[in-house]
């Protein structure tokens, strides 16, 4: 790890997180941990078919069962308008969301909710669910993205016509949308190349795999007020979505953020929450709902499977002259795959004059995809980084060198529109090249792969409040669910700004009644945007503290400065006053105007793009096809690591999710379009014994728009592993597989075909 010169007292330290003791002692309350008096348990009835018309639903037997307090179907839910609203990193159409939450006319995937029940015990709810008779007309289905775009494919939505093409098509299809980004002339670029490589790639759908299943407790009062306690990446998102779906005013819904047991983008939408509210309204009691692991796999989250063509050309000396990508991403049952960001990020690490990217958003009969860490980018950048690797090896150029030669830098115009400001891609390449890892020789059947990744990072709405208590301790409030140590980062930034001890600050993630709107915890935005709000709130509190000191000293506020947690006279001209500490000013606040606080409600702009470069060593067993990851190094530009421990943790965790995506993870469907591996036994996420240590190297090229230089770190690390692993496997086996996952049967077949 490269430690930076110390310029801060708190920022950059490995402080103990304020919520830590709760989390190591079992006290922390996650989504399923709340019980309320009189609470009943809810259960969802899900479609067993991948595509079916719902002819009728008979709930009478379930309603008659002793202990059942409510049964709901889509008939109990308001009909939503078809209206796209920005949410997460995608646009949400509330008609689609309503259908996803509770199917109305058709079930579009196996596992889609069609009804729900509440009963005194989970057992009774389960029995009642089994008594609900849904009469289906089974329809032909389609899962695979390239099958779904065929002329004769079963069409999911007969009112869906491909957007983004002119003229508007006359025939409904599964292609929801076409996007295009271009710069210069890609064909001219290929004409100028000495070597052009064009490859087709596929990736399989994967799940975020958070260990905590979705869970909620909802309690609706007879006067229409609703309390919701749930695990999500944004309790304001939950409030907004439930308000829209159920036509309840936002001020009547209070959502409290439970501790969240992982999300990775998968908890940026609602599934159970609106159902629990509806069941509570009908039951007149609090309702708890939790998903089983199987329901999580079938009915929530997951990202796209994809097919793509990547074409790149370069001169003999390695200068990339042209690049083209055509991307097809599964959206699941409703439009909204991450094909937009996939297309935008595809070539973003490179300074290219001639680029064209075309992307297609394709619906098929699987669950609606939802964000998964850097949505779309791991897919497109996997293809691109594989071709860059092949160019390098064909041309006999070092894989880091070819990236350095062509890498984006300050002033590079990206094909998706922006001109980069200060960025640290080159620095990650230099740091990777300097590692001992990169120079270590390999043995037989071993290979080394390198790949880089880019993610935008985002800002968005956040609020923060700093309240200086009478004893000089500080209560910090904000509303970004803490998914991996962000309370610590917030308190560190507040301590640094205020000049007080970190341990004097207690940060809380407060409910939707207690702070203003926050965009979700996602897009690598919390340390950047909520951090910016915390710094601004701290500065507002400092201004107030200075004003109080000015009042006590009877001088102008301009005559008071804030240094090291003390108000001091700005110069000897102001007068000879003893500095007053924050605690001293707090003590006499009642005599100087009352409680002291600072607030900031912002929409943070200027998020800093981030890059990473990974090095992976593998060994491939030629007899079994098993790939062992021997060594892994992940370098990333964090801008500024507020808490290096949790930054490394993000890098390591993201890298391992990427390794899982590359090697093991995939959704497997049977001929009826039903998921065959809806459990951790058959959907194999990496376990401790699969892995080596993950060496995380933080590079700091500060983001000039953030007070401490933060860029955001959560998403970049999942991008490079897909290609880093497969480039390593290619080096070890001499075979370019161009498909993921690289499971043993795939490897064996590839080795056999080569022989």
């Amino acid at each position: 790890m490269n430690e930076q010169p110390k310029q801060f007292k708190w920022v950059g330290t490995r402080a103990i997180r304020p919520d830590g003791v709760d989390k190591v002692t079992g006290r922390a309350m996650y989504g399923a941990d709340l019980s309320l008096p009189g609470m009943v348990e809810g259960k969802v009835v899900r479609s067993p078919h991948a595509h079916a018309r719902i002819i009728s639903i008979d709930t009478s037997k379930a309603e008659a069962l002793n202990g059942v307090t409510a049964v709901i179907t889509a008939a109990d839910m308001p009909v939503a308008d078809s209206k796209p609203v920005a949410s997460g990193e995608a646009m949400i159409n509330f008609k689609d969301l309503a259908n996803n939450v509770l199917a109305r006319e058709k079930a579009l995937y196996e596992g889609q909710a069609v009804a729900a029940v509440a009963a005194k015990t989970a057992d009774i709810a389960e029995q009642a669910a089994a008594l609900i008779v849904v009469n289906y007309e089974v329809l032909p289905h389609v899962i695979d993205v390239m099958e779904a775009i065929k002329e004769d494919a079963p069409v999911l939505h007969d009112d869906m016509f491909t957007g983004g093409v002119k003229p508007k098509p006359e025939k409904a299809s599964n292609v929801a949308n076409r996007v295009e980004f271009a710069l210069g002339d890609a064909d001219a670029g290929f004409a100028a190349a000495d070597l052009v490589i064009e490859r087709q790639f596929t990736t399989e759908p994967v799940h975020q795999g958070y260990i905590e299943p979705h869970a909620v407790v909802a309690d609706m009062n007879p006067d229409g007020k609703v309390d919701v306690f749930c695990s999500s990446q944004g309790h304001f998102m939950v409030r907004a979505f439930c308000s829209q779906l159920l036509h309840i005013e936002m001020s009547k819904i209070k959502v409290t953020a439970a501790e969240i047991g992982g999300g990775f983008g998968g908890k940026t939408t609602v599934y159970l929450e609106p159902l629990a509210i509806m069941l509570s309204r009908k039951s007149g009691r609090p309702v708890r709902m939790t998903m089983s692991r199987e329901e999580v796999f079938r009915g929530s989250g997951a990202t796209s499977g994809a097919a793509m063509t990547i074409k790149m050309g370069a001169t003999k000396d390695g200068k990339i002259t042209g690049a083209y990508a055509e991307l097809y991403l599964q959206a699941g049952a409703f439009p909204g795959s991450p094909v937009g960001p996939a297309a935008m990020t595809a070539f973003a690490p490179y300074d290219l004059a001639n680029v064209k990217v075309v992307g297609f958003d394709v619906v098929s009969n699987r669950q609606k995809v939802v964000a998964y860490r850097a949505p779309g980018a791991p897919i497109s950048e996997y293809g691109v980084e594989s071709v860059v690797d092949e160019l390098a090896s064909e041309l006999g150029i070092d894989p880091i060198e070819i990236r350095s030669m062509n890498g984006a830098k300050e002033g590079t115009q990206a094909a998706y529109g922006v001109k980069f400001g200060t960025i640290g891609f080159q620095e990650t390449l230099d740091a990777a090249k300097a590692t001992e890892h990169f120079k270590t020789p390999l043995g037989p059947n071993q290979g080394r792969g390198v790949a880089s990744g880019f993610w935008f990072n985002i800002g968005g709405e956040s609020c923060a409040g700093i309240r200086i208590n009478e004893d000089g301790s500080i209560s910090l409030t904000e509303g970004s669910p803490d998914i991996g140590g962000s309370r610590a980062s917030m308190a560190l930034m507040a301590a640094e700004t205020l000049g007080v001890d970190y341990n004097k600050i207690k940060p809380s993630v407060v409910d939707t009644d207690a702070t203003g709107y926050h965009f979700v915890t996602g897009g690598s935005r919390v340390t950047f945007a909520t951090g910016m709000a915390v710094v601004e709130a701290s500065k507002a509190a400092i201004d107030e503290l200075r004003a109080r000191a000015a009042q006590i000293w009877d001088v102008d506020v301009e005559g008071v400065v804030w240094e090291d947690g003390h108000a001091k006279p700005a110069s000897t001209n102001v007068g000879d006053f003893e500095p007053m500490s924050l605690a001293e000013l707090a003590k006499v606040a009642n005599k100087t105007g009352g409680p002291i606080s600072g607030h900031a409600d912002i929409n943070a702009k200027g998020a800093g793009p981030a890059f990473g470069t990974h090095i992976c060593d593998v060994e491939v067993d030629p007899d079994t096809g098993h790939v062992t990851v021997l060594r892994y190094t992940a370098v990333q530009d964090a801008g500024r690591a507020i808490h290096p421990g949790y930054v490394e943790g993000q890098i390591q965790g993201g890298a391992v999710q990427g390794i899982g995506w590359a090697l093991n993870e995939e959704y497997i469907y049977d001929e009826n379009g039903c998921l065959e591996n809806a459990g951790f036994l058959d959907y194999r996420v990496p376990v401790a014994s699969d892995l080596p240590m993950i060496d995380a190297i933080i590079v700091e090229v500060p983001n000039p728009t953030h007070p401490f230089g933060v860029r955001g770190v959560g998403e970049v690390p999942i991008i490079p592993p897909l290609a880093a692993v497969s480039n390593a496997v290619a080096a070890a086996t001499g075979v370019r597989f161009n498909r993921l996952p690289l499971s043993p049967p795939t490897i064996l077949a590839g080795i056999a075909a080569k022989k």
């Binding site: 830590g20 002692t25 958070y210 990775f264 376990v687």
Partner: protein, 158 residues
Amino acid sequence: MAKHHITTTINGEEAEYLCEPQETLLDVLRDQVGLTGTKEGCSSGDCGACSVMLDGRLVCSCLVLGVEAGGKSVETIEGMADGEDLHPLQQKFLEEAALQCGFCTPGVLIAAKALLDTNNNPTETEVRYWLAGNLCRCTGYDKIIRAVMDTAADMRGA
């Protein structure tokens, strides 16, 4: 169905509960006894979030019936610290940022303690295989493995 009246010891204290014959120890702990520190991630023995000690043996409480705990001794995450004093593993996990969301943490800590109670000098490979049944999706395991090894080193040094 008649409920069973079970008497057992939980975290060193005598406890009793009524449970259905099919109810798991995990459900009993969480819903009857009110100890929600033990987590449910899968209910099928695949994630380890529900790890507890049963008569000194590491088990997935989702695979044990509540009635089976009768007359035995159960240890959960709530019993790991000694009052205000954290167990060295708990302390090390905090110092080394070995948890992110913290959902796997109770199960990981219980499992890691079970390892260190019998072997205070495990190799990295031993720790990795011992914890292979405890899924963590956030950390990539690196800091978890290091924290367990570092705790073991401290315990040997002490």
